[in-house]
Subunit: 243 residues, 2 copies
């Protein structure tokens, strides 16, 4: 029986893929995805049929994957990071609807909160929020409201899609929202190119983050009131030392 696996490949390097994701890609006949993510796995899984669609054609991509699986092919749809968190799994379920065909398997992967956090140190040891600054599908007012509430709740944060060509000022605007509640010296961090060439982690204050030159391959971390820097690493204690 053919199935459709929605596979989170993690940040992009083979090492940060799970054993299960590796198997799902190996067992697939067809690998479908956004061009950039398919390119990340093309070499490791050569000999497959590869189908790609550009960035803004998510629903087309999912329909194509479902159709291929209904034709009897084992299809793996690749997502960067996790297959659920800002990934394609929900859209696949939406488009398949109440039909039982094709069978669907969601294969989780390392989201940038995990993989980027490990590069920076341990910024998310306590409760945290994950918020995307992309307003392509979400009202900016809602994003602002979420940032504001997360700051008031003393949650650490992983901020996805901090900047892109069409959103050059989003990170600065987000910092301005956070600075209503958080002090300017709040510890923050940025990880560039997680698990890829040019991987780099930088710690800084929230005030410095406001004008930091991030790009679309960055994940941003905001500390909570306990976050500190130890040996160059961004560390949020949970409180174990005090017990």
């Amino acid at each position: 029986m053919a199935k459709l696996s929605i596979v989170g490949i993690g940040p992009g390097n083979y090492e940060n893929m799970t054993v299960k994701a590796d198997r799902a890609l190996r067992e697939s006949d067809v690998i479908v995805g956004y061009t950039v993510y398919v390119d990340l796995v093309k070499e490791q899984f050569s000999g497959k049929e590869f189908l790609t669609t550009p960035m803004t054609r998510e629903a087309d991509r999912c329909r194509m994957a479902i159709e291929k699986a209904r034709e009897g092919k084992n299809v793996a749809m690749v997502c960067s990071g996790d297959s659920g968190i800002y990934g394609m799994a929900a859209l696949i379920y939406e488009i398949r609807g109440e039909s039982a065909e094709p069978a669907i398997e969601v294969v989780p992967g390392l989201t940038a909160a995990c993989s980027g956090g490990a590069v920076l140190g341990a910024p998310l040891t306590h409760d945290f929020a994950v918020i995307s600054l992309s307003d392509r599908l979400t009202d900016w007012n809602k994003i602002e409201m979420r940032l504001d509430n997360a700051a008031k709740a003393d949650l650490s944060m992983a901020i996805y899609n901090p900047k892109s060509k069409g959103r050059p000022d989003h990170l600065k605007k987000a910092c301005d929202i956070l600075l209503r509640t958080l002090p300017g010296d709040r510890i923050c961090g940025v990880v560039h190119n997680i698990g890829r060439e040019g991987e780099k982690a930088v710690t800084m204050t929230l005030e410095e983050l406001r004008t930091y030159d991030a790009d679309m391959f960055c994940t941003v971390f905001i500390g909570n009131s306990m976050t500190t820097v130890i040996g160059g690493k961004m560390v949020t204690p949970r409180g174990y030392r005090d017990v």
Copy 2:
């Protein structure tokens, strides 16, 4: 050069471990951890030295791991889920302090937000918060405040440690906080024993969750205002269908 790897092993089954975590355990001389987590890897990585401490001796465990690495052993400290998110990486950095010895490598793993989400469907496709209901190291008032803010921000939530012997009422109390803001029919889900024997996912309303018999091997998911059930799966759309 000996090093200390803090390894997130994911939910517990080998398949959901990353290639890098597998390698770190293979290359280690000593595997250190909480008894239950060490038991999860003992069979797959037999022939190593295993050192365990009980649940509430986290700082002892970290000191033991650092000491072993300073003696020249390659040490892998295992954490369930991710090594950073509620894991031991921060405490290792705290205890090592500004010393450069031993070298530390944080190996990320699938946190339950990813691995449990995949079992339920795709509950965290949009912005979300991760909140633990354990008040062992965190004031209950702070946990309540975070739940309240997350609900007001229309964030989906992954709730860790929903219940234990010492905290039989925490999930009910948490639902009561959420019900101040969220409707009783808000879609929720519970995953039992992610990646282990007895894995099971159940969807329900927030009102039903309030009296649900969860245990300490559960992860709870709270939907946002868009979350729905499709073909038995908990699905939070991102909005791709509408573009």
